[in-house]
């Protein structure tokens, strides 16, 4: 439904004005209240932020009242694909600005439709089964390879002639001329030019507004096969399954945004300096304290970019003579950090504890290559939740090995912090493991907290040392006040200190949503990599992040979605996958028909034996209606 929407910041920048006075009105009143705490006149007061937020806690009625100015009694019918919420809203606010406010709020954070749509994310003690990788039939694998071969062959033919005869600027950077070597190696850039460009339209769609429950995309069009785009000036609002907004903190109003507004008024926009010069402010120290307390470590440090957190922490921890054993699917930032550190890097098979143990024994027994000196130290680097496969790290398994092999453990919780565990504190929380058993906990603040940047948390002496030898802290700029306040306020909401109950609801909604969606997709017959948490404006992920033939669509689930949104998504997936013939799953990875009455999961094996059904797996192809009808209840049971 494209509708004309003026883009703020273009030209006069007053285009977004008409809406503004109305939307800011409630925040002003709250802002005044907050500002009393923020601009507190006590000169030695270093905990202004703390007080400001605590005050909100002491006055929860006001805070909640303002964030839910209107009772959300909306039985919205978003499943129809059109946004006709007004038509089904039982309670019709009289004021039209209130209506648009309400609509706006719900586009950022959907109302919870039923209190049963919540689930507590935690490990129930069952052994962590190795993920079952279901493969599509050979016919499709083969045709995928053939398509790629065709594209590769075509691309090479075009390059061959283009480089020799064409005058197009595209080829200029590929040719040597005037004594200059070509700026791009044709081989290096081949994937980008010949494969990705064809489908470039699906990547990096430009959006406007808040990337919350819905996302507003700018409509664009390309006349030259995606080399450049012309923007049509219209926008389309879509269901957002593409943003890392696990807890739905991408909001332009509510307690977080109010706190941030006050903070900008007080602190300005930047600290204009690195941490060791004059960039250490009271605010940053306080946020570090809160982050440390949240993840359960004595101390923490925050960085202004998640990628840099990894890239700069490894060189500060390990050096020549040390060994890094890294999971083969670790993120690029870990690999870059490891490379910059100068340590020897080995990798082990993804989440395979037996392989890790083998590598550890070999490393300790053989010592450093050639000299055979013992390693100074061994650092095992893993991720809490792997972004591409959706698998969770076997933390109990690794900790068992840690006791024996005395390595140090670095867990990257970029995707898990804030999303996993009953209290949202990451994998340790999920497994019920004391965080002190992990040496270094790293995570990003971009995803669950709706802010930006990353943190490293560890024992005090480790962080003190890191502070004095981490390049990004010494020379890189300090995070900005707005970002720090967003982190601070969202953390307080998650812990329940601010707007009690809301944090818990968000945590339980993301857990329910991801389980519901995963089960639904499996029942429809799709191969689901995502394991527990993934939020739909779909992300298309391709090489080099994934193997060449297994490019995938990723759904990033958020607490801001409700069941209606997910049902809409399931319906869309059902339709699309029928058109594209994507229902490949064989059923070995789940989504099976429920067991008949009287048969429990425990005696399933016996029942199968009795009925001669051993090893028979019926490919799941549930009708959509049944998926939706049964999903909510079944998502809370053990998934099958």
């Amino acid at each position: 439904m494209p509708r004309k929407l003026a883009i703020p910041f273009t030209g006069s920048s007053t285009t977004a004005q008409p809406e503004r006075p109305a939307e800011r009105r409630p925040s002003q009143s709250k802002g005044n209240r907050l500002s009393q705490f923020f601009s507190s006149t006590k000169p030695k007061d270093q905990t202004t932020a703390q007080q400001g937020l605590l005050a909100m806690q002491n006055n929860p009625a006001a805070a909640t009242a303002s964030s839910t100015a209107l009772p959300s009694i909306s039985v919205s019918a978003t499943t129809t694909g059109e946004l006709n919420e007004e038509s089904t809203t039982i309670f019709q606010p009289t004021d039209s600005t209130e209506t648009s406010l309400q609509r706006r709020r719900e586009a950022q954070f959907g109302p919870l439709l039923d209190s049963s749509h919540c689930y507590v994310s935690m490990h129930h003690g069952e052994p962590l089964a190795a993920p079952i990788i279901d493969e599509p039939p050979y016919y499709y694998v083969l045709t995928t390879y053939i398509s790629y071969l065709l594209l590769l062959a075509l691309g090479h033919v075009r390059d061959f002639f283009g480089k020799r005869f064409s005058k197009k600027p595209l080829y200029r950077t590929l040719r040597a001329s005037n004594g200059y070597a070509p700026l791009n190696d044709d081989f290096d850039s081949f994937y980008t030019r010949r494969l990705k460009l064809r489908i470039d339209d699906v990547f990096a769609r430009t959006s406007t507004g808040v990337p919350g429950r819905y996302i507003t995309l700018l409509d664009r069009h390309s006349d030259n096969y995606n080399e450049s785009y012309t923007y049509l000036g219209t926008t389309t609002e879509t269901l957002n399954m593409s943003s890392y907004n696990y807890l739905g903190f991408a909001q332009s109003e509510g307690p977080c945004a109010n706190a941030v507004e006050e903070c900008v008024r007080k602190y300005g926009l930047s600290f204009c300096s690195s941490r060791t010069d004059a960039g250490t402010s009271d605010l940053v120290s306080e946020v570090e304290k809160e982050v440390a307390a949240f993840v359960g470590k004595p101390d923490a440090m925050v960085f202004s970019m998640g990628f840099v957190t990894n890239a700069s922490s490894f060189p500060a921890l390990v050096s020549k003579g040390c060994l890094i054993i890294s999971d083969e699917l670790n993120h690029a930032s870990i690999r870059l950090g490891a490379r910059l550190s100068g340590a020897v890097i080995r990798s082990f098979k993804h989440n395979d504890m037996a392989d890790l143990e083998k590598k550890l024994r070999e490393a300790i027994a053989q010592g450093q290559p050639r000299t055979h000196r013992p390693w100074k130290k061994i650092l095992v680097a893993v991720e809490g939740l792997y972004s591409m496969e959706g698998t969770m790290v076997d933390l109990p398994g690794i900790l068992n090995l840690k006791d024996t092999y005395k390595f140090y453990l670095y867990v990257d919780e970029a995707h898990s912090v804030g999303a996993l565990g009953p209290q949202g504190r990451g994998v340790c929380d999920y497994f019920g493991i004391d965080p002190s058993r992990v040496d270094v906990l790293m995570g990003t603040l971009t995803k669950s907290f709706g802010a930006n940047g990353g943190y490293v948390a560890a024992d005090k002496h480790i962080i003190d040392k890191l502070r004095s030898c981490n390049a990004a802290t010494m020379l890189g700029e300090s995070p900005t006040p707005a970002v720090l306040m967003q982190i601070y306020a969202s953390l307080k909401i998650i812990t329940g200190e601010l707007v009690p109950g809301e944090g818990e609801e968000r945590l339980q909604r993301i857990a329910f949503n991801s389980r519901y969606l995963r089960l639904g997709l499996k029942r429809l017959g799709m191969i689901v990599h995502e394991m527990l948490k993934r939020n739909i404006s779909v992300v298309v992920v391709g090489y080099p992040a994934t193997p060449l033939i297994s490019s995938r669509a990723r759904f990033c689930v958020s607490a801001a979605h409700n069941k209606d949104d997910l049902d809409r998504l399931l319906a869309a997936c059902d339709e699309v996958s029928n058109i594209l013939q994507l229902k490949f799953s064989t059923g070995i990875a789940g989504g099976l028909k429920p067991l008949p009455d009287g048969v429990t999961p425990e005696n399933e094996a016996a029942w199968r034996k009795a009925n001669g059904l051993e090893g028979v797996v019926e490919p799941p192809r549930w009708p959509l209606e049944e998926v939706i009808a049964r999903g909510a209840a079944d998502a809370k049971l053990r998934l099958r």
């Binding site: 950022q108 977080c256 945004a257 300005g268 926009l269 960039g279 027994a365 480790i462 390049a471």
Partner: protein, 274 residues
């Protein structure tokens, strides 16, 4: 005498075997390695020999594992570092030409890069709040995955027109910008000639690029020219042509002086004849 014959036979065959071994390519290297390692540490080479003859048994590995004591994850802070850490000022409230410190004193601030004090500009703050109320705080995704918003594109276009370039990219973190840009263009095998005084993040970028790096004396154009010529000659001799980059800074972070850009451009990159 049977015994004598046997002894001669064994000797002859050993001699043959040794000669055959010497004919194997690389054998000399192996012998030298064993000899030198024996000289450095006879016990170690003995152990290695044992390792070769008997593979490590599982229980031996267990013992090695038990014996191995890693160094602590981080070394203790040096007293210098402790001192430095203590001296870091904590700024309370906003930064500006005068700042209030954690110890209650208000001091003149000569440590922030706040050239125009835009940090205190009310109109910019107002704009920021307006943006906050339209977009929220974080874009919640990397640029390639729906993290690009119209504000980003607009900012990029503004910067490009300000600098007079065709386009621009905005990075989230100034410090890592150059570190990640250099490896995008400079690959393994390329040659980078860099000023000796470039800042830390440039150095990290150079390191990450895996190119071969030459250094020229700070702001010494003659030295740069000499090195460039040498590189060109070397490459001409080997008949290879790689990308060659010169990396320098506009205003040096460490020294505060400027590159001689006009000379740099005119002497090294003469206008290409049309």
């Amino acid at each position: 005498m049977e015994l004598n014959e046997a002894q001669a036979y064994v000797q002859a065959s050993l001699h043959n075997l040794f000669e055959a071994f010497q004919r194997v390519p690389g054998s000399a290297v192996l012998i030298r390695y064993i000899q030198s390692s024996y000289q450095n540490d006879p016990i170690r080479s003995a152990i290695e020999l044992v390792l070769v003859i008997f593979f490590l048994r599982e229980d031996e590995i267990d013992e090695l594992v038990k014996d191995w004591e890693p160094e602590p994850l981080v070394a203790d802070q040096t007293s210098f570092e402790e001192n430095e850490a203590e001296k870091i000022p904590v700024v309370v409230g906003p930064t500006g030409p005068k700042v209030r410190l954690g110890n209650g004193r208000t001091v003149t601030n000569l440590a922030s890069y706040n050239f125009y004090n835009f940090n205190a500009s009310e109109s910019i703050k107002e704009k920021a709040i307006q943006t906050l109320r339209t977009y929220g705080v974080g874009p919640c995704g990397p640029p390639q995955f729906y993290g690009t918003q119209d504000v980003h594109m607009q900012t990029e276009a503004d910067i490009a027109s300000f600098l007079g370039t065709q386009s621009a990219i905005v990075y989230a973190h100034a410090f890592s910008t150059i570190t990640s840009v250099i490896p995008c263009f400079c690959k393994r095998g390329d040659v980078i000639v860099a000023d000796k005084m470039v800042n830390y993040s440039i150095r990290k970028g150079l390191e990450a690029s895996r190119s071969s790096i030459r250094w020229y004396n700070h702001n010494d154009m003659a030295d740069l020219e000499r090195i460039m010529k040498k590189v060109a000659e070397e490459q001409a001799k080997k008949k290879i042509l790689t990308r060659r980059f010169v990396v320098t800074e506009g205003l040096f972070e460490m020294l505060g002086d400027c590159s001689d850009l006009p000379k740099l451009v005119s002497s090294l990159f003469p206008p290409v004849p049309a």
